[in-house]
Symmetry: C2
Subunit: 450 residues, 2 copies
């Protein structure tokens, strides 16, 4: 029997780490614990289950624990909550059913993920204030909102917007509160976010911007009102979408170092401050390839990749390096696809760049080909160097995903405005205009150079 | 009055050159000649006009000559055929109506485009053997095929396939001849092209591979039969799609140097062998960014960019450089989007690389999100260096365009398999699986590294 790899958390990062460790080391003993009943769970799918697009909550997981255990030869322990990491004895304590067991590890991978932020305001513990956590809780969430007529959504980030759409699809009256002047406040510039405001209004979402929720009040322990700086609103349920924070409780208790973002500090090998202890996914810190600075981002694709790196390095030493992220993300808000990569104009300015930007509207097909739609693209570059820093794209066609990935590929590899202009992108009348929208954005941004 | 820029040809490259020269030099006198009645014409749109997707042939042009002349302050001469370039006297002779006029130039831009290859076989001058040339001829082409019941398409390249679809849409019986073992013989590997064969068969196209057309026979000067090495086929019309070659007649007569591909030799500034003479677009040679070798490619996006470079440099000296191409292209064949970039596996081997490849099938959405479809992706890399050399993608969703552009952006900037794996691409359940299909291809190609 080989060394024992213990993995805490069986979400994207944990499951990826387990699979990778097994692939690279057929001898290792791999034990993966999850406090819930699912593994490789996809919290990103919850809004689609709540809104009825996905019929079964169990569909949100890629593997059943049994399949994963069999196919990967991993000892998968579900409903098993790790309660303590002991670095000196190299053990974890695990609550399984009514007993607490101790497991020894040679390598430990912490993949405990993130948890929803709760507002530190009066009434936030009332019943009927709901959060999205894990797929197995989704049926409860859905049953709760199904009985409601009016639902408040607190927070205009990705989860808040996706839940607003899901609730409208269920026929609910939705009131969305965002304390900042626009939705997606940390990921989009205001000029672009306004397109999302219009889409929300078009679908009947009552949008309250610049309006901070300061409390909740209830009757018999059940929430009945959202209280903001500006007023009070009668609601039947509240869905919280004010963001997540890394679930570092175990790591902190064990004395593992956190980074400046309060996620677990890791280097590019996903090594923590402690020997033989790795962290990956939403619990771990990452860094921005453009600024070089540490950042926290809780998204499944980097979580999967960080998991792969941690799993590989746990069995092979310094075998893989995680290069960092540029913050590519996409969501769907009713009929709009809303995508971004790199830095917004505001972020670029805050980071000390001298940003210039161009915003264009472009068609998704040749002008004469039927079915094309208009998408909006904002491109941000650093004026002195010409380096493209970020792109935001919003439009009613899934091709927005393709455009943002193209932009992400270019930005991630240091492209300048000239490089984007000359990128050899595809063209045919049904699929693009002859000047590709991303290239048109670069042309406009070049201020006459092209 | 500034210097006089003369541009021969008002297609993609010529019109782009004119627009760019004007923008960068408000004083220059710019004269653009085209032998046809349209400018900024889009031959790529002709199949969609013939098939009835586009209603008016005039819609295929972006600008009318009058608009372009007015907005760009360019002297646009349509129905004006340049018959001679004189390098010594720096003049061109132009047939306009019944007269031939001589125009002096300070800078000359040759953008005469490409012309269809005609087969040197018996009967190839019969009536009813049709070629796609310029949009203003499209109504004639359409009227001709409308009367037919059985139409042969000769050549299984992009134009041949697009015309086959257009003809099926018009209710014609289509027989497609390709002398090579598979369609798209120079741009796709056989294993991928087979997916196109299936799609053609599904839509009733009678596909004859490995079958060279050796002649045509007719009655009263009208084509009636296609004669191949293997048999004879009764047809009403024939559409030729055996490719194009650069229309270099004027350049050759003037003594301007051709490159090894028989297109006009140009450097990265679009300068020809002769001082103050530029060439751009389908008449000019380009080079492959991956192999560094000279190549000929007749596609609108590089033509536009070469035009921009020629137009800019004609007025500003060595202001812009054209970096070359990687051969990105896409077409639609019935319900399939068929796209490629870089080198095929066969090309990679011929160019002296040691290619490895992986072919995957991947879904376009999260597994639980409805509406996802499967696409096929083949990725080719150089084994010793890990550099990704090419990608081919085929599937029934327009997102194929987004995937190929993402791959093109990565390949164009020298990405290795590792770089592709770690590219920060977007994810949301409606738009992609959590492992993006391009990343999955890189994973499989990494042979266990990821």
């Amino acid at each position: 029997m080989g060394r024992r790899i213990v993995i805490i958390g069986a979400g994207a990062a944990g499951a990826s780490a387990a699979a990778r460790a097994r692939r690279l080391d057929p001898e290792a003993e791999i034990v993966m614990f999850d406090k819930g009943p699912f593994i490789s769970h996809a919290p990103c799918g919850i809004p689609y289950y709540v809104g009825g697009v996905v019929k079964e909550a169990a569909d949100l997981a890629i593997y059943s624990p049994e399949e994963f255990a069999r196919e990967r030869r991993v000892d998968v322990r579900i409903n098993a909550e790790v309660t303590e990491i002991d670095l000196r004895s190299r053990t974890v304590k695990v609550r399984e059913g009514n007993t607490t067991n101790t497991y020894q590890w040679d390598k430990l991978i912490i993949a405990t993920g993130a948890k929803p932020i709760t507002l530190p305001v009066e009434g936030s513990d009332l019943k009927g204030i709901l959060t999205l956590r894990l797929p197995h809780e989704a049926p409860v969430l859905r049953a709760e909102v199904e009985r409601a007529r009016v639902v408040a959504v607190v927070g205009g980030g990705y989860i808040g917007l996706e839940m607003a759409e899901a609730l409208v699809n269920l026929g609910k009256k939705v009131i969305l509160f965002e304390m900042m002047p626009h939705v997606l406040p940390t990921t989009f510039d205001e000029d672009m976010a306004k397109l999302v405001h219009d889409e929300l209004a078009k679908h009947g979402v009552e949008l309250h911007l610049n309006e901070k929720v300061v409390g909740f009040s209830g009757v018999n322990g059940e929430v009945r009102k959202v209280i903001t700086e500006k007023g009070e609103y009668e609601v039947d349920k509240v869905v919280m979408g004010v963001g997540v924070r890394p679930d570092t409780d175990l790591a902190v208790k064990a004395g593992i170092k956190l980074g400046e973002t309060r996620a677990i500090w890791v280097n590019e090998y996903m090594e923590t401050s402690e020997p033989d202890v790795y962290a990956a996914g939403d619990v771990a810190e990452t860094w921005n390839l453009i600024t070089g600075k540490r950042m926290y981002i809780a998204l499944a694709p980097p979580a999967n990749k960080m998991g792969q790196v941690a799993g590989a390095n746990a069995v092979k030493g310094r075998f893989l390096k995680f290069p960092g992220v540029i913050g590519t993300a996409i969501t769907k808000v009713f009929d709009l696809y809303v995508a971004r990569t790199g830095l917004t104009e505001r972020q670029a300015r805050e980071e000390g760049f001298k940003p210039v930007s161009a915003t264009i509207r472009a068609r998704t097909t040749a002008h004469y080909y039927p079915g094309g739609v208009q998408v909006s693209i904002k491109m941000v570059a650093d004026e002195p160097s010409g380096r493209v820093l970020g792109v935001q794209i919003i439009g009613p066609d899934k091709i927005v995903a393709g455009y943002i990935d193209t932009a992400a590929a270019l930005i991630g590899r240091g492209a300048t405005i000239d490089d984007v202009f000359f990128a050899d992108l595809s063209y045919s009348p049904p699929t693009a205009p002859v000047w590709h929208p991303i290239i048109t954005a670069a042309r406009v941004l070049s201020k006459g150079r092209f």
